[in-house]
């Protein structure tokens, strides 16, 4: 009987002394863990999911050493805890140390991340702590060390925290690969994941344990987090902007929420938006000075840690943040969350809501603050999706050749690897289960001979090979590789420092290169004057300028998830039917009236198309309400089909509601040909011709080239390794396309563009729906509330059927 084991009694007794009783799911997890099984614990944050596994390991330890579990120290690494965010590590470590102290167990808890000081790393090398909290990148760095297997000699358990966050990203693939190696070293390894609810939990288990696992199980907490969502409705909806993305006009209505709460987290979608909100809040309510903080990925680490500590201790009134505070950090004082603008997905919204009311049973209060009027519909959609438990799935990444190349290099710079052994391990991961022997050979060749097209003059150097053993001889390459481990690709970042000393944060090189000395910009909530760049460091002084430039950070826009998209369409239909009870939709009635007056409000069985002429040219707006991804592809398809009627060039814009084709000549879409232009005939062939697959792949290639080690990113504080080795991803893409079209990395770029971005199935469904619908074409003489947010979007694609020479001649003619 497991319940009566020594360890079990010690732990439950300790909990009882604190007046606590374990949740059923925690006991289930302990039970399964003690039986030596692997699996996933699915529980909302704030219900002790950490303890469901950590205490299991503690119980097992006491059981194994009932006499001397207090004293036994220097036991080597037993339990590795993988966490996606560095911010989580400290918090977790603290909670674990508290348990160990109170139970008087002589285990040590260590943290290993990019922030871990060198001295600590050296100490860990001497003696590994029993528990190591680590990021996926740092785990790979461990694998890049000489004699790394010794580190894992006593390892029996790996827990992957926030697995739902890692799954579906290349960081998740890094975890899969590291686990495959650890299983190779320690065949009895227990692997556990902790995940919030997602649509494909079963698949998440398969990815974590590999497709051949036998004994995995999912332990569900079946506890529902109580979430109260409230929209902040603009006082004067008639005057609220139809477009925009900052939401600053709503700031006065955010202040009472902050005042009435103990601590509020204000989530924005971008770093620049968080900077602007921080500044504006201080301007609007100077009393907040000292009690308001800013937290995002470009802010100095020490400052971020300070903010997190301060959040813990409850001395902050509010923190403006980005996804940097998304994950499960337990900030007890937080009792309200404000989401500025659309969170784009149900899961992310729930995650953020869960930042408040972290205690079991507490209500999570989240306020949705729209940045433009139509976004209110999204609030209504989110509410409905939450009620129906419509949580998104996270699609696992498949055949990421770039990550595999990086991983093999990692193994090569440590002790080297035996190809057949690693091939077997890699093939047992979910990501690479369909890797063919030919592809594997290509990967090995890419690392040893630099791919095909060899001549006697070739001097490619990376890996050496002796039989099946592959290793890296060059210390320079090894060092460069260790600096490059990871899959988060960012623009080259420069340190920002005051002239007088003092570190502010980091900033994109591409941003700073657009500034001239004397220009002012904002970072970490401070107004700074750019003085000069020296040794990869931006030197600044305090600025008194009234107007400053806020860096617009790169980084993709998050597209609306399909779940939210569907709910959104339903809510639009509901709103348009004028039989709604949602306060958000009722508030929007004036806007809908304006839309009706200028154009039309489409009913459930209608597709609205607006043709509008402005000084910019001839616009065609189409509103399928299917989300940005589908619109992007659909717009390209429609543009392509129209362009076959006559030579014409379009620029294309889209948002989550609809898309726009803009041309310098009238667009030949009429009531007669509209149905045919939206048909599903020849869909696949026309899609491949129409969608600018090359451009989409080119965008994907940037990350791939960096991850695969073809591009050196700049490092703060480090000189560029070699100026003669600089090249842009776009240039590399061109030369691969022209000179090595069979390259797997190129193939991966096209795969990522097609399979992840183009949702063919969704598009087909949409077109079939349109085929059944009535197409309503209006010609408003003014821009409508529906089209306005699309029109002002500045990110555009191009589609043309005109000859390049003709386009140039036209442009020359226009520009005089």
């Amino acid at each position: 009987m497991q319940q009566h084991s020594r360890g079990w009694k010690v732990v439950t007794g300790w909990l009882a002394d604190k007046g606590l009783q374990p949740f059923t799911f925690q006991e289930d997890a302990w039970q399964a863990y003690l039986q030596g099984r692997s699996g996933i614990v699915n529980a909302p944050t704030g219900f002790g999911k950490t303890f469901s596994l950590f205490l299991g390991a503690v119980i097992a330890w006491i059981d194994a050493h009932p006499k001397d579990y207090h004293k036994k120290s220097r036991n080597g690494l037993q339990l590795m805890w993988i966490t996606p965010l560095r911010a989580l590590a400290k918090d977790l470590g603290r909670a674990m140390e508290e348990v160990l102290r109170e139970l008087d167990i002589a285990w040590e808890v260590g943290i290993r991340s990019g922030d871990t000081p060198l001295a600590t790393r050296a100490k860990q090398k001497q003696q590994m702590p029993e528990v190591l909290i680590i990021t996926p990148e740092s785990l790979h760095l461990l694998l890049a060390q000489k004699e790394y297997p010794a580190v894992f000699k006593h390892l029996h358990t790996v827990v992957t925290d926030e697995w739902h966050e890692l799954l579906g990203s290349k960081r998740g693939v890094m975890v899969e690969l590291a686990l495959s190696r650890l299983r190779g070293l320690r065949p009895e390894l227990k692997v556990w994941g902790i995940s919030a609810t997602i649509g494909n939990l079963e698949e998440a288990l398969e990815v974590l344990l590999g497709p051949y696992h036998q004994n995995g199980l999912i332990i569900r907490a079946n506890l529902k987090k109580n979430i109260a969502l409230q929209s902040v409705i603009p006082n004067e909806i008639e005057n609220y902007p139809w477009a925009g993305h900052l939401g600053i006009r709503m700031l006065p209505q955010a202040l009472p929420i902050i005042e009435d709460s103990q601590t509020t987290l204000i989530f924005t979608n971008t770093r620049s938006q968080s900077e602007i909100w921080y500044q504006s809040l201080l301007k609007y309510d100077p009393m907040l000075a000292g009690a308001l903080a800013l937290h995002h990925g470009s802010i100095d680490m020490e400052l971020r840690i300070w903010v997190e500590e301060a959040l813990h201790n409850g001395i902050l009134k509010a923190v403006v943040c980005t996804a940097s505070l998304d994950l499960g950090v337990d900030f007890r004082p937080v009792d309200a969350v404000i989401q500025v603008g659309s969170p784009k997905g149900v899961a992310r919204f729930l995650q953020r809501a869960g930042r408040s009311g972290h205690q079991p049973g507490a209500v999570s209060r989240i306020f949705f603050l729209p940045t433009h009027a139509l976004e209110l519909v999204e609030a209504a959609a989110l509410k409905a999706a939450m009620e129906q438990d419509l949580i998104e799935s996270r699609m696992p990444v498949l055949l990421a050749y770039d990550v595999l190349l990086q991983y093999l290099m990692t193994l090569a710079v440590s002790d080297g690897f035996y190809a057949p052994e690693i091939y077997e391990e890699v093939r047992k991961t979910f990501c690479y289960q369909d890797l063919t022997p030919d592809e594997w050979q290509w990967i090995l060749a890419f690392l040893t001979t630099g791919g095909e097209a060899l001549g006697s003059y070739d001097e490619f150097r990376k890996l050496e090979r002796q039989g099946d053993h592959y290793y890296c001889k060059s210390r320079m390459l090894a060092m460069r590789h260790r600096l490059h481990i990871g899959t988060i690709v960012s623009d080259a970042m420069l340190k920002v420092k005051f002239m007088s000393g003092g570190y502010v944060g980091v900033i994109e090189e591409s941003f700073i290169s657009r500034l001239s000395p004397g220009d002012s910009f904002t970072l970490a909530g401070r107004n700074l004057e750019f003085v000069l760049i020296k040794d990869m460091t931006v030197l600044v002084r305090k600025s008194n300028a009234k107007r400053t430039i806020v860096p617009s950070y790169m980084g993709g826009r998050i597209p609306l998830s399909s779940n939210l998209g569907r709910m959104l369409r339903e809510k639009f239909n509901e709103a348009l039917s004028r039989r709604t009870k949602d306060p958000e939709l009722i508030a929007l009635q004036p806007l809908f009236s304006r839309q009706e007056e200028l154009s039309h409000i489409p009913k459930a069985n209608e597709l609205l198309i607006e043709k509008i002429t402005t000084k910019d040219g001839y616009h065609l707006f189409v509103y399928p309400f299917e989300g940005r991804l589908v619109h992007e592809v659909m717009a390209a398809l429609l543009a392509y089909r129209i362009s076959r009627i006559q030579p014409i060039t379009f620029s294309i814009a889209m948002n989550d509601y609809g898309f726009e084709l803009l041309s310098d000549q009238p667009i030949p879409l009429t009531a007669e040909n509209a149905k045919q232009l939206f048909s599903t005939d020849n869909l696949l062939t026309e899609l491949q011709t129409s969608v600018n697959a090359t451009e989409m792949a080119r965008r994907k290639f940037r990350d791939i080239a960096v991850i695969a080690g073809l591009i050196f990113q700049g490092y703060p504080g480090k000189h560029k390794a070699n100026r003669h080795l600089q090249s842009s991803a776009s240039l590399l893409f061109n030369v691969f396309k022209d000179y090595d079209p069979q390259n797997l990395l190129l193939k991966q770029a096209f795969n990522e563009a097609f399979f992840y971005q183009m949702e063919e199935a969704r598009l087909r469904e949409t077109l079939e729906r349109i085929a059944e619908s009535r197409i309503v074409i209006t010609e408003p003489d003014k821009l409508t509330p529906f089209c306005f947010p699309i029109k002002v979007d500045s990110l555009r694609d191009t589609m043309t059927s005109e000859k390049l020479e003709d386009r140039i001649k036209k442009l020359i003619a226009v520009n005089g």
Binding site: Y457, Y739, L804, K810
Partner: protein, 221 residues
Amino acid sequence: MQNKDTAAREIFRFKQQHWHLLAEKAIYWEEEKALILSDLHLGKSAHFRKAGIAVPAGIMQEDLFRLQQLITRYLPERLIIVGDMFHSRHNNEVQYFKVWRGQFVHIRIDLVLGNHDIMNEEIYSQLEIITHETLTIRDIHFIHEPCEDNNGYLYTFSGHLHPAVVMAGPAKQRLRLPCFYFGRHCGILPAFGDFTGLASLDPAPGESVFVIAGKSIIRTQ
């Protein structure tokens, strides 16, 4: 490949000379029977590969093949290279060039040194390349980095920038193309090498710009 009849070129009469602007990214100077080119960056892919970055091999071979075609079409007496002929230090692609050079021993090669041309002088002489800091012929001055102001010569040719222009038009259209750029005092050649990037320039009124659109040359201003 195109033959002479369909070769896309534009004969630009400028400073009393005939400049044949070629879509292959070179200029044929009729009066001097010279091909002018810049920024070949020969050996760049080998340099990358030597450092463990598996860019495709064979880029230089294509570049040299294109140059070979130009030579057989125009039969120049000399090549004037306005800098960055080789990308970096000596590597095996330089040896390949030496073999290639053997086909055209009768052609004189003048290299105006650019910031990438860092090999030892003796290597250039082995390759029968005559190096210069700057070069002046018929009061036409050649220097790698473009000059801003009037330097006293009739005109100056440079490279270094890998120039391109962005053309914007109605309905938010946008195109970015490599170009020949003729400023008031200084003309800038497009980069000849295929493994090179582009830098967008902002031409002033009164300057002449010829864009390279695939296989043709089009004057845009």
